[in-house]
Amino acid sequence: MPTLPATLAQTSWANLLMMAVGGLLIYLAIAKEYEPVLLIPIGAGAILANIPGAGMGLDLRAIIAGQQVEGVFLPLYKAGIETELFPLLLFIGIGALTDFGPLLSNPRMVLVGAAGQFGIFLVLLLALATGMFSLNEAASIGIIGAIDGPTSIFVASKLAPHLIAPIAVAAYTYMSLVPIIQPPIMRLLTTRRERSVRMPYTARMVSQRERVLFPIFVTLLTGLIAPQASPLIGFLMFGNLMRESGVVDRLVKSAGNELASITTIFLGITIGATMVGESFANLQTLIILVLGILAFMLDTAAGVLFGKLLYLLTRGQFNPLIGAAGISAFPMAARVVNKIGLEEDYDNFLLMHAMGANAAGQVASVVAGGIVLALMSR
């Protein structure tokens, strides 16, 4: 049994740093309530993985190089992340929880969701320009910008499995930082007058038939446009079909609560366990984190600028803030839009419009992931 000094001697600066990062994530989760559901498991995984001699870390480079790796997290990684199973199971739950009603009652929001994906492709080019990443790696990094954790993991596990750790950590951490990162960009790019544009609630009724046909239609359409996105869209829309069918309440509750929670626990702690010592704490990770946040900021900016275009085209009827909701982080981005709108005018509720754009962004980011996969696999 190693003595205490021997354990200390094995502890590298990188282990200590990653433990501190894990502690920081836990602090943000508890003190600031930034997505605690994700950050607590990730933070705990990061601390466990860096206990020297415990053998709990998941060194992805070693795993992919075929070296012998042990530890409790290995079976979880093999079963859920290498196979892409966890992101897909999570999507069933997300589909069961997502109300596409605001999008269906306002279908033009699809455009906003599409515009929110520009940053992905800009950062892809930027990552290539650094000369440090291959095309496949650059594409995986760009996907971070959609702030869609499951899609990021799905794409990275196909194109650049050795980069899953920093990409997943970036996507999930930035998802929790939506209320911090987006507002300054939104304020910078819009005038007070644009932020104050009132948009009354559109009370177009959405029938149950529309709600049921929507997931089926989107699944088939995605199969035609970007078949590589079919697993993700298919699972997302399967969850939503159960929700809208109105006859399998029990399954919807299980998918949205138990299935999503269990998958989040396993996914979060396994992703956290990949943040191990020197294989994570290096310059490449830092650059990926910076490129990832840049992708997110560019996606937000692209969405807001598209919102400004709609503002001009509709002669001031469209509030450009809603453009910022065209990303995947659902419903955080929509809430931020509502909040910024209320700051200017406490009687101007943009929530339902922003929810429509946000729901569109969620679908669009998955489709964008499929398009990236289709382009890269040629």
Binding site: D99, P200, V206, Q208, R243, R335
Partner: protein
Amino acid sequence: MPTFDVTVQGKTYHVEIPDPGASPLQVIVDGEAFAVGIAGVEDGTRPAPLADAPRPAPMPGILPPLARVEVTRPAVPAGAEGGREIIAPMPGTILTVDTQIGQSIEAGHVVCVLEAMKMKNPIRATHAGVIAEIAVQPGQTVAYGALLVRLE
């Protein structure tokens, strides 16, 4: 589109329901649209069949209403006649009511908190006034345009 001719106390109304599956239900009475929210029916689920909606019972107490129905006119112009109305800007659930009848409030005072899409939205008075009527209570589901508070 289901259409009905309903006679209430000798007066006949022409009623159209464009989509019986919608919630809140849109009901057009003599060309005027109403949003009908039926309490106890979750968003996205099938609303209670029309037959279950309470009718004006000839003998009160014998036919208990099966569902509570709230009828609202969307986009009521605030303050059109006699006092100002604060209406629900979107569908949701009333979380708290933060005012009392007779209370004198300034513009910007939070009258109630409306939870929509799991987000708490403070509903503020757009004008100063005295609370004349509070039409909602905590836990109540409201449709878009439902009267929340009337100011004198």
